[in-house]
């Protein structure tokens, strides 16, 4: 049991960490988040590996945990910028940095909704299931977050708000 679990962690740990990084905004909280979620996956490994999708399971736990137990640390600022930002001149990438920094100001639920929608590419109904909220809540949280970030919404979204 532990062999296959360890293999999973070894194979998917990096991708899960990157997901944790966009959820939390910093490497320390991302490492905590992914470790906690993997511990829970380890406990449920036999059941989950047999009939569910372990990666989906652990990503769901991470998103919920981020919303529920999110806490800001003083250290967060240290990695608030993407690591190589100082070296870059490209205006498009500077724009990335601005957005990234502003994502850090969002409440955790709003941030989670944006990560699930724009990083995980999930439909709102799936986001609602993962976060345990209604699809309407997903839309309103996304709308508020996009507004704060001054991101132009597509026409279909505008209609829903």
């Amino acid at each position: 049991m532990d062999d296959t679990f360890d293999d999973f962690v070894r194979a998917r740990g990096g991708a899960l960490f990157r997901y944790g990084f966009v959820l939390t905004g910093n490497a320390d909280d991302a490492a905590d988040l992914v470790q906690e979620a993997l511990l829970r996956l380890g406990d449920a490994w036999q059941r989950v590996a047999r009939k569910d999708d372990p990666e989906g399971y652990v990503r769901t736990i991470m998103a919920r945990q981020h919303v529920s137990w999110w806490r800001r640390r003083r250290r967060e600022h240290l990695v608030a910028q993407t690591p190589d930002s100082a070296a870059r001149q490209d205006t498009r990438l500077d724009e990335d940095d601005g957005l990234w920094a502003e994502l850090g100001e969002l409440p955790p639920k709003q941030r989670a909704v944006l990560v699930l929608r724009y990083y995980e590419d999930l439909p709102d109904a799936e986001i609602a299931r993962i976060l345990g909220v209604s699809a309407g809540t997903v839309r309103s949280q996304a709308s508020r977050a996009l507004g704060k970030l001054r991101v132009q919404r597509t026409a279909s979204l505008m209609e829903e708000v």
Partner: protein, 449 residues
């Protein structure tokens, strides 16, 4: 106006540049092993605790209670075998503690100054002295003190000058003539840092100067007899005269990072995932201009060197070798940071935390004892300069309190747990009794042989 594509690109870009920590597999295995020990310990006492599931921080969910009594969860259950640490190293229960191996290097320091300021360990000052910050409030240094571990007394080195709102002192480093530190305002977006020195014999702190932009992204700081020197995250080593003046890049340091003056490396620290697998290829002495090539043993990645030793990864294991590639040693544990302290010491997890002396092969456990006798590998703190490590002097214990889940917590586990409707959440708090810390001063460990 930004588009949704911009947002998706920014998220992807951040993810691609996130620096994955070394040893995630290992960290998870080690934490599972520790929880297994706790679980086993408790199972004799409480039949109901059939499963412990850590949710976040130190909170845990356990046995699901239904109206008709206690029903075991259908998954997980007690795991009785601790996963072996990668590299085949099992926890060696008989490993001696560092206080028994190098008694001359381990001493006690009070947690608080007589006036109630809490001590924050900064660095070794000498083999018998530790540099401390006496904090007036959370992480606000009021003064620097030097604690004499032989005499058990402390003297004030300098009073700190209060900074502007949101100002925090960051790393401190003890040089030959000065203690140096820098400060930033971490909770705003200003790219700004200032540099300070205080004479090692005591006296007023002097503000050397300030920098903005890329130069303020300080990663490693040090001090010479006439300059503050530092390297920045994007590479390059800079200096500023202690007597004041402009910052300048030290020639030939493009793509170099300071390790400890006068040495610099051409490989970046572990936080940069894109670069962490690259091997250092040269040890550069910024004082003499010497560039000493280093050779990575076959298959080694992420190698980092000091003049005496290099450490790197070989598959799942960590190995050390001399800078010319000879004398390769497979280490009995994992490292979270590829750093050789004081030219010879490594901090490894086996999964207990141990110090490994490369010059002799000596291993010693660090950290507080637990009152139930199990190892307490997580209970230690390291100074930013990594020259001292401290832990609670008295045995620590954990106290568990349980309560029903809140509605939000139930939502967070709904659908991924079999039946969380009436689960309880148990929080484990670590009790650190006593007024003293036990401290290992690396500079006090006797020379090999």
């Amino acid at each position: 106006m930004r588009t949704e594509q911009d947002l998706a690109a920014a998220l992807r870009h951040a993810a691609d540049n996130a620096c994955e920590p070394v040893g995630l597999t290992y960290a998870v295995a080690a934490r599972r092993a520790r929880r297994t020990r706790r679980r086993r310990h408790r199972s004799a006492l409480a039949v109901a605790s059939v499963a412990v599931i850590t949710i976040g921080g130190t909170a845990a969910v356990r046995g699901v209670h239904r109206g008709d009594g206690v029903v075991p969860m259908t998954h997980g259950g007690p795991t009785v075998s601790a996963p072996p640490a990668p590299g085949g190293a099992a926890h060696d229960a008989t490993l001696p503690h560092v206080r028994d191996v190098w008694p001359e290097a381990v001493s006690r320091i009070p947690k608080k100054a007589p006036d109630g300021f809490s001590y924050n360990l900064l660095a070794a000052f000498s083999p018998t002295e530790i540099l401390l910050a006496a904090d007036s409030s959370f992480e606000k240094a009021g003064r620097l003190e030097v604690y004499d571990t032989k005499a058990g007394t402390s003297r004030v080195l300098t009073e700190m000058v209060p900074g502007k709102k949101g100002y925090y002192e960051q790393d401190f480093k003890v040089g030959e003539d000065y203690v140096v530190w820098y400060g930033t305002t971490p909770n705003n977006r200003d790219e700004w840092a200032d540099f300070w020195v205080a004479p090692i014999r005591g006296g007023a702190a002097v503000r050397v100067g300030e920098v903005t932009g890329a130069l303020s992204d300080v990663e490693t700081i040090d001090v010479t007899k006439d300059h503050v020197v530092w390297s920045v995250r994007s590479g390059g080593v800079y200096r500023m005269p202690i007597t004041g003046g402009a910052a300048e890049r030290i020639p030939g340091t493009d793509g170099m990072w300071l390790t400890s003056w006068p040495w610099a490396a051409d490989a970046h620290d572990w936080r940069d995932r894109a670069k962490e697998n690259a091997n250092q290829s040269v040890l550069a002495n910024l004082e003499t201009g010497e560039r000493r090539p280093v050779t990575a043993p076959a298959g080694v990645t992420g190698m980092r060197c000091v003049p005496q030793w290099c450490v790197g990864r070989l598959g799942d294991a960590v190995v050390a070798a001399r800078p010319d590639g000879s004398g390769q040693v497979r280490l009995p544990g994992q490292m979270t940071r590829m750093t050789v302290n004081d030219g010879r010491f490594l901090l490894l997890r086996t999964p207990a935390s141990i110090v490994y002396d490369l010059s002799t092969g000596t291993k010693a456990e660090i950290g507080a004892r637990r009152s139930d006798g199990t190892p307490s590998s997580q209970m230690w703190d390291m100074s930013s300069s990594m020259s001292v490590i401290a832990w609670n002097a008295a045995a620590v214990s954990t106290e568990e309190t349980c309560r029903p889940m809140t509605a939000e917590e139930k939502r967070s586990v709904a659908g991924v747990e079999p039946d969380p409707r009436s689960s309880t959440v148990c929080e484990t708090r670590t009790i650190t009794p006593g007024d003293d810390l036990e401290v290992l001063n690396f500079t006090a460990v006797p020379e090999a042989g």
